[in-house]
């Protein structure tokens, strides 16, 4: 299958591969511990680990955009901040 029309780069391919692996990981996690790990966290409503992954990913995007807008430092800083944020979300949300 010819996918050149999609204008792939290895960077974006890596990005989507990471997301695909995250989803795969979530499926495995669900297989090992079914039920989604639903609980009521600091947001005061019930979230499953899928919700927590979604919140983490969406906020990571915003953290990266905010970093680009307001800082000249390396973008890896935003990535580290996002990982820390995701860890916090999975711990407390």
């Amino acid at each position: 299958m010819d996918l050149t029309w999609m204008a792939w780069t290895w960077q974006t391919a890596t990005f989507f591969a990471v997301i695909a692996f995250l989803l795969l990981g979530m499926m495995l996690w669900e297989y090992v511990a079914p039920g989604g790990g639903a609980r009521v966290g600091i947001l005061r409503f019930e979230t499953t680990r899928g919700d927590r992954l979604f919140i983490s990913l969406l906020m990571s995007a915003y953290i990266h955009l905010g970093w680009l807008a307001f800082s000249d430092a390396s973008l890896w800083g935003a990535t580290i901040a996002s990982l820390a944020f995701a860890a916090a979300v999975f711990r407390w949300v």
């Binding site: 792939w8 780069t9 960077q11 039920g35």
Partner: protein, 289 residues
């Protein structure tokens, strides 16, 4: 008690998944790919990293279009939601007039977007349009092709005309679901009209109103055809909303990288709002049970 989990039903979702992959996921991935590259056509791309994102985030043009977009969405929500509720409250609750009202309410919703734009364009023209001539006859200088304020007025009026019906229909559906016993109880207690609205009708409508706000937010946030046909984003850039600006960047200037980065940022904003509303809605349902 341990629940039995049977996930085989998920296979039933596969066709939808394929369809969504084809019309949403794969195009979106392509946009992400575009957003980090520069192209001069011929399907030749050069990697640029996050340059387009930096440019878009720092561009005053993007900020202006975004500001206009939020202002527009805010204005039409502030008008359409209360107006829609008011009209729904005024509609008869039973009798032969119900169907007549419903049909009249549904009419604007049946008109295609580009036709709405063309209709309002002619309707509002200051020299030959009924609306334009009437306003000018009142002594108000009105020309939506030249004055930003008139253009805004026309675009907002057009959207209110086109979409308030949707809010009306949703609110009316919410009102119809209230059993008569509620009203009888309120009457016995001697509740005022305002109290009935505040404590019976509004809470019962809040669920459909959330849906109405969500639909109107998303729809107005991605509005393109109507203002494009009506004003073309003008005069100047006065009614250049995000989507119009996006198309200008992508197709007018062939800045695919910039346009792709704008799309991604635009998409993320819509996604956040959708998520907030969706969460609010589902938790509301859970709370009701």
């Amino acid at each position: 008690m341990t629940k039995t989990w049977n996930n085989k039903a998920w296979f039933m979702v596969l066709p939808v998944l394929l369809l969504v992959a084809f019309n949403a996921v794969i195009p979106l991935m392509t946009v992400v790919n575009y957003s980090v590259q520069e192209t001069f056509g011929n399907n030749l791309f050069f990697f640029e990293g996050v340059r387009w994102y930096e440019e878009v985030l720092a561009s005053s043009r993007f900020h202006a279009a975004l500001g206009r977009q939020f202002l527009f969405t805010f204005i039409i929500l502030a008008i359409e939601i209360p107006l829609g509720v008011a009209v729904a409250l005024a509609m008869p609750r039973s009798g032969p007039w119900v169907s007549v009202c419903l049909v009249f309410m549904a009419l604007p919703l049946l008109v295609p977007w580009n036709v709405v734009g063309a209709m309002w364009n002619i309707f509002a023209l200051p020299d030959i349009g009924l609306l334009g001539r009437s306003i000018n006859a009142l002594g108000i200088d009105y020309n939506f092709t030249q004055q930003p304020l008139s253009a805004w007025f026309t675009v907002v009026l057009m959207d209110v005309w086109h979409w308030t019906s949707l809010v009306v229909l949703l609110a009316y559906a919410g009102l119809r679901s209230i059993p008569d016993a509620y009203y009888q109880a309120a009457k016995i207690d001697g509740a005022s009209r305002l109290a009935v609205f505040r404590y019976i009708q509004l809470p019962k409508m809040s669920r459909v109103l959330t849906i109405a706000v969500l639909l109107r937010f998303i729809d107005s946030f991605m509005i393109y055809t109507e203002p494009f046909v009506l004003t073309g984003g003008g005069p100047g850039n006065a009614t250049t909303f995000l989507s119009i600006d996006l198309v200008k960047a992508a197709l007018g200037e062939f800045n695919l990288g910039i346009a792709a980065a704008m799309s991604i940022i635009y998409f993320l904003m819509t996604l956040l709002v959708c998520w907030v509303f969706y969460t609010a809605m589902t938790n509301y349902y859970d709370g009701e049970r």
